[in-house]
């Protein structure tokens, strides 16, 4: 009988697919929008290398050093500088081909080494982009801070360096200058490394269910507990949260079918044929779970393909998705049983879904939630169990406590199903009509 009931529901859903498609498209579209705002797609799934123009109007050894360092080693992973003239660079920025133009002005080196005030590097940001130009500004800020620090500590050496740059010193004197600078830097090393204050995030496996960030003061830096993929994973992070929230909406939509069965009296007709309602209710729950699994597959696989996300532990992720689908179906069955009126239930279900989604950390990282909510409410919510586990599976090592989340979600769904069946039985006995 369950098979016949399921076949009927799937056939009906196929004949009227619009509500399902809308619920599936919304999270993909929102993820795409947010992802694009944060910098767009790259093949590696990262934010991509920042392409910018470097205009060297100074043409000295120091400016050549700055030019060269921009795409060496680590810098090369994230920066893609192109050396060009000012006019060409401005054309490129107008055509939205680069994120920014960094100009080293004429006499920059001379002014720097002679300690003149008011010297500057010029940065022109591309107004059509948001994140990459901002990153460039931050990087330039770091560079300026470094140059200022050098100027303060090596001021006395600068006249000699200027003569070197102007070609007035021989190699022996240059080597002595380098040696002196090296000695000064070596003396400064004990103040620089190791740092007095470090910032690190707890390993999620160690503090399951919290995932918060903490400041710690330590003399020795701990080795990183995870191998975080570069900024990449903005899409994966967002999509997991979106899935957590929108699967509730899909579940609501699927379970609204039970409202329709009540309104259209088809459940009543079924009841004239069968005393026990549980097969009918069970078929709706199974139907909802099936729809949710299909939706999860579309969201996770489709979203992964669309945004270039590589899911790291797909089997564990699928198991958690299944448990979450069971929970969502059970929750919606309870809500239908509690509020048989379809219109009232529609409003209530939306509020409940959004509330659970937001408080569970689907829309915002849990760290940004109010302290009371984050510490006392969020850890108790099944939405958080799902989203947190999904994100940890993606971003941390293999020590994620996903079986615990799976178990909690399954137990919650069983309790909800039992509650829904009891509520339905009671409603029918009392002759409640939607």
């Amino acid at each position: 009988m369950l098979r016949v009931l399921l076949a009927k529901d799937l056939r009906r859903a196929r004949r009227n697919p619009l509500p399902w498609l809308i619920n599936l498209l919304i999270p993909l579209v929102i993820t795409a929008l947010i992802g694009l705002v944060f910098g767009g797609k790259s093949n590696s799934g990262a934010l991509g290398r920042i392409r910018f123009a470097l205009v060297d109007e100074d043409q000295t050894i120091l400016s050549e050093f700055l030019r060269g360092s921009a795409n060496q080693r680590e810098g090369g992973k994230y920066l893609d500088p192109v050396i060009m003239e000012r006019e060409a660079a401005l054309r490129e920025i107008n055509d939205n081909k680069i994120s920014a133009v960094l100009i080293i002005p004429t006499n920059f080196t001379r002014s720097y080494l002679t300690g003149k005030s008011g010297i500057s590097l010029e940065l022109i940001k591309n107004p059509a982009q948001s994140v990459h130009p901002a990153v460039m500004e931050e990087l330039l800020g770091a560079l300026v801070t470094g140059l200022n620090a050098i100027a303060r500590n090596l001021q006395s050496e600068f006249p000699d360096w200027q003569e070197v740059i102007e070609g007035q010193r021989d190699y022996k004197e240059i080597s002595r200058l380098i040696e002196r600078a090296g000695d000064k830097l070596k003396q400064a090393e004990k103040f620089i490394n190791p740092p007095l204050v470090i910032y690190e995030k707890d390993a999620p496996g160690a503090r399951a269910g919290e995932g918060g960030a903490t400041n710690s003061v330590a003399g020795v830096a701990k080795p990183a507990a995870r191998k975080a993929s570069p900024a990449s994973e903005v899409f994966g992070y967002l999509l997991a949260g979106m899935a957590g929230m929108f699967l509730l909406f899909v579940a609501n939509n699927a379970m609204t079918d039970l409202h329709r069965e009540l309104r259209q009296r088809t459940l009543v007709r079924y009841h004239t044929l069968h005393e026990r309602l549980s097969p009918f209710i069970a078929s709706k729950v199974v139907f909802t779970v099936v729809v949710l699994l299909l939706s999860s597959a579309i969201l996770i696989i489709g979203g992964g393909w669309l945004f270039g996300i590589e899911w790291r532990q797909p089997l564990a992720f699928a198991a958690v998705c299944f448990a979450y689908a069971c929970f969502a179906a059970g929750l919606m069955a309870v809500l239908v049983a509690l509020v048989p009126d379809e219109r009232k239930a529609g409003a209530l279900n939306t509020i409940v879904s959004m509330g659970l989604g937001m408080a569970g950390g689907c829309m915002f990282p849990p760290q940004s939630l109010p302290a009371f909510l984050r510490d006392h409410v969020t850890p108790l919510l099944p939405t958080h169990w799902f989203v947190d586990t999904a994100r940890n599976l993606q971003y941390s090592g293999g020590d994620v406590a996903w079986p615990l989340a799976l178990g909690k979600l399954l137990v919650a769904s069983l309790l909800l199903l039992a509650l829904a069946a009891w509520l339905f039985r009671r409603q029918f006995r009392e002759g409640v009509r939607p």
């Binding site: 009988m1 009906r12 259209q264 007709r269 044929l273």
Partner: protein, 310 residues
């Protein structure tokens, strides 16, 4: 033996007595009409008989067995056609029939062959593959009826099956129900249409405010009014008091009195011409007297003091 026997059925919703000590029975090959206005308690009665609602008191016996001793056994014997269209609009007529056939316990092949038979009998074969949402009101009603017949129930409960459809479609359904009766099915038919009850039902129960006021064949109900004719007297009756007329209440039963009209039936076997002469001799200025056959509306009028159509 009756296929359905209802005994002292009672259901209250708070202070409202929706069904109050209703008793009747339906025999095989009989259409029993439960006639009453909206809100009389017809649907609540059917809901209790079909097991959707549990009665506060009273018993329902299906084929001699108390319903609540084995509800599933009773449900296998009966087919229920709810007043609302309890069908899936997205599915075709055939898919609806096959689905409800499977729900009634038929195998896939039996459900298919029964659906074909019913589509033929309900003259819906041409539209069998169309989605029900594209059907006319009458066609939807026929499918709604057919969905209760897949398992060939011995007892059929029809809750106002012709509400809101055109006369032609109604006639089709009534003919179909007549054929079902001929095949031996016991049918409980609720309606507020007098004509349907008169034309279709072998026995009729008149229900109002949850109480079964009278029951019997059409003839038996008409006889309650004084035979097979009524007299309609038109006169200025504003200040008239029939009870004060000499021996009038012993000779005539008053069904209705307005300022312009008096409807009466003769008590006992009296000659119509004698009754006519009697009425013309009343102490009012009579403008007209006509004779008519008593209808179920007149019976309802006599029982409740108001017309069924009000």
């Amino acid at each position: 033996m009756s296929l359905l026997r209802v005994q002292g059925l009672f259901k209250a919703f708070g202070p409202l007595r929706a069904v109050d000590s209703v008793s009747f029975e339906v025999r095989p090959g009989e259409i029993y009409g439960l006639l009453g206005p909206n809100g009389a308690g017809k649907t609540t009665s059917i809901s209790m008989i079909s097991g959707l609602l549990k009665p506060d008191a009273g018993e329902v016996f299906v084929a001699g067995h108390a319903f609540w001793s084995d509800p599933q056994r009773a449900k296998r014997i009966m087919g229920v056609v709810p007043q609302e269209l309890a069908i899936y609009e997205e599915l075709s007529g055939r898919e609806n029939l096959e689905f409800w056939g499977r729900m009634a316990g038929l195998s896939s092949s039996d459900a298919k062959s029964r659906a074909t038979e019913l589509l033929e009998a309900l003259t819906l074969t041409d539209r069998a593959k169309d989605a029900v949402k594209n059907y006319s009101g009458g066609m939807k009603r026929r499918i709604n009826l057919g969905c209760a017949l897949l398992h060939q129930p011995q007892l059929l409960l029809l809750d106002e099956p012709t509400v809101g459809i055109d006369p032609q479609a109604r006639q089709n359904i009534l003919e179909f129900i007549t054929k079902l009766r001929a095949s031996g099915t016991a049918i409980l038919y609720t309606t507020h249409y007098l004509e349907e009850a008169e034309a279709l039902c072998q026995r009729i129960g008149i229900i109002d405010h949850g109480r079964l006021l009278a029951e019997g064949t059409l003839k038996e109900l008409q006889d309650r009014l004084g035979g097979d004719r009524l007299f309609v007297l038109e006169a200025d009756l504003k200040d008239a008091s029939p009870d004060s007329w000499d021996g009038f209440s012993k000779r005539f039963r008053i069904l209705q009195k307005t300022e312009r009209q008096l409807v009466v039936g003769a008590i006992g076997q009296r000659d119509p011409s004698e009754c006519l002469k009697d009425l013309l001799g009343l102490p009012v200025r009579v403008e007209n007297v006509t004779l008519k056959r008593p209808s179920l509306n007149d019976v309802f009028l006599q029982l409740t003091g108001r017309e069924l159509r009000e």
